[in-house]
């Protein structure tokens, strides 16, 4: 095994064995000095991570903000888009489906650069705070691309609901829109949760690409740090990985809970 590989194993072991569980950042940092007799290469430098925790923390907040805003925009745009692909017809359906294909077929870096440099979205002033134009471009780019992917999640789940459900809704006098709204959508949304969990995780990690338009979120800040201090590369990477893990784990568990809470009972017949 190569040196970096061994190092990675060693550092991972350090996190797992030498640290009091649940003590977080301070513990991570403190563990550095004492238990480095087994480390191949330089001693672990958790102090460096700790000294730059604020810097990384701001990046983590940016990552979280970008993720939630993009996922939200993706949902608000992607859900109707998926519905149009299933229930719409004519020009609107073709237009929506074409835009989706283009967005899904374009590298995210290109989308972001187009948003920032070509479309040139303005700074948005919210009174208490303002959102920089790079941030706006990032949210728009990530959000619209997520909409293109989410539209396919919802398209699939809407199509998966049995035709007889819509028909039964129509048979009691619901209009087509009402039957979709009250009968199909509630079932389709529940079936979308697993696909949505994937999409959430993907968007979270793809936020790092906003470095292309000058935004320094978690991963970019980490990169900056270990470029500056090459003795702490793994420590920084492990630390930010842990943050990503906590974010994906908690949100996925929250969505699992939502899925269980609203699960449609499928039991043995009584």
């Amino acid at each position: 095994m190569s040196d970096p590989g061994t190092l990675a194993l060693a550092a991972a072991a350090s996190v797992a064995t030498d640290l009091p569980a649940g003590d977080g950042l301070a513990a991570l940092a403190a563990a550095g000095g004492s238990a480095d007799w087994w480390v191949v290469g330089e001693p672990a430098d958790w102090g460096f991570v700790r000294r730059n925790a604020d810097y990384l923390g701001v990046g983590a907040l940016l990552t979280i903000g970008l993720t939630f805003a993009s996922i939200l925009l993706g949902f608000v745009v992607g859900f109707p888009a998926g519905a149009v692909e299933v229930y719409g017809d004519g020009l609107l359906k073709r237009a929506v489906s074409t835009v989706g294909i283009v967005l899904r077929g374009t590298p995210i870096v290109v989308i972001l650069i187009v948003m920032y440099f070509v479309v040139g979205v303005p700074q948005i002033n919210l009174g208490v705070a303002s959102i920089s134009s790079a941030m706006t471009a990032g949210i728009l780019g990530l959000g619209l691309r997520s909409a293109a992917y989410q539209s396919q999640i919802f398209r699939a789940s809407l199509s998966s609901v049995d035709e007889g459900q819509l028909e039964a809704g129509r048979s009691i006098g619901l209009s087509r829109f009402e039957a979709v709204r009250y009968v199909v959508v509630p079932q389709a949304l529940r079936r979308s949760i697993p696909g949505f969990q994937n999409e959430f995780t993907i968007v979270l990690k793809d936020t790092s690409i906003v470095f292309a338009i000058g935004l320094a979120e978690l991963l970019t800040r980490g990169y900056d740090l270990f470029s500056e201090q090459t003795t702490a590369v793994l420590e920084v990477i492990l630390f930010i990985s842990a943050i990503y893990f906590v974010l994906t784990f908690t949100t996925n568990r929250a969505l699992d809970y939502l899925g269980d809470r609203y699960a449609i009972p499928e039991g043995e017949s009584a």
Binding site: D162, G164, Q165, E167, A168, G169, R170, S171, I172, G173, L174, S175, E178, Y182, V183, P186, Q187, R190, I264, P265, E266, G267, S269, A270
Partner: protein, 248 residues
């Protein structure tokens, strides 16, 4: 044929692409009548039934319901379906709603009843089909017979003037058919006007005012059950009834 027929189907034809699935189908019903459509699978009886509430579109002919042309392009189909209940072969219960939720949806969203009034009406209808003890069960938690009874309650909750039954017992295990037929018997006794597609010949014989035998999209023969079952005039009717009987 009189002018005051409650439902009058005249020369209804329908094609799926090039295939003619209904050809000049005609029959009529009075208020309170029970008419049973029988025939081999693929004979068009379900399609005929579905033309009456426009779940299928007939291309030719006329269907007058209470004097109103069902096939008119200007007709408000949602309004039509408010007044014509339908029970499906596969139940088609709303999977995400409880029994009460299934039955209350129409009264709540279509008739505009309050949440409480809709629930009350749903409970009444579920009692009517003998499911007072399963109000909050989800479809997947009910037996097939119970599900179909919820399906009937769901249609009844709209207080329809005509009920359509599309092979309501065909998807049921034999031991569950009885409970559904019993509910349907009850409706007959209450005077409900019912158009029924079924293979339950003894039920048809007992309750039908008229039997319409369809084959290949055409009405081969129609008449009161005694006549059609015991003295069929057409050879095809006889052969079909023999085939059915040998499976009973």
């Amino acid at each position: 044929m009189s002018d005051d027929d409650f439902l009058r189907v005249t020369d209804v034809s329908k094609w799926y692409g090039d295939e003619k699935v209904l050809e000049d189908v005609s029959f009529e019903m009075d208020r309170g009548d029970v008419t049973v459509l029988i025939g081999p699978s693929g004979s068009g009886k379900s399609t005929m039934l579905r033309c009456v509430n426009r779940l299928a579109e007939a291309q030719e002919g006329s269907i007058l319901l209470d004097g109103e042309e069902v096939l008119s392009p200007d007709l408000d189909v949602d309004e039509l379906r408010r007044e014509v209940g339908m029970v499906f072969q596969g139940f088609n219960l709303f999977a995400h709603l409880t029994a009460v939720g299934n039955v209350a949806l129409g009264p709540r969203r279509v008739l505009g009843l309050s949440e409480t009034a809709a629930r009350e009406r749903a409970e009444e209808q579920l009692e009517r089909v003998g499911l007072a003890d399963q109000l909050d069960s989800y479809p997947a938690e009910l037996s097939g017979g119970q599900q179909q009874r919820v399906g009937i309650a769901r249609a009844l909750a709209m207080e329809p003037k005509l009920m359509l039954f599309d092979e309501p017992t065909s998807a049921l295990d034999p031991e569950l058919i009885g409970e559904v037929l019993e509910v349907m018997h009850g409706l007959v006794e209450e005077g409900m006007t019912m158009l029924v597609v079924t293979h339950e010949m003894s039920f048809a014989r007992e309750v039908a005012d008229e039997i319409v035998f369809l084959d290949d999209g055409r009405v081969v023969e129609r008449g009161p059950p005694e006549q059609l079952f015991d003295r069929p005039e057409e050879e095809r009717t006889g052969r079909f009834l023999e085939r059915i009987a040998s499976h009973d």
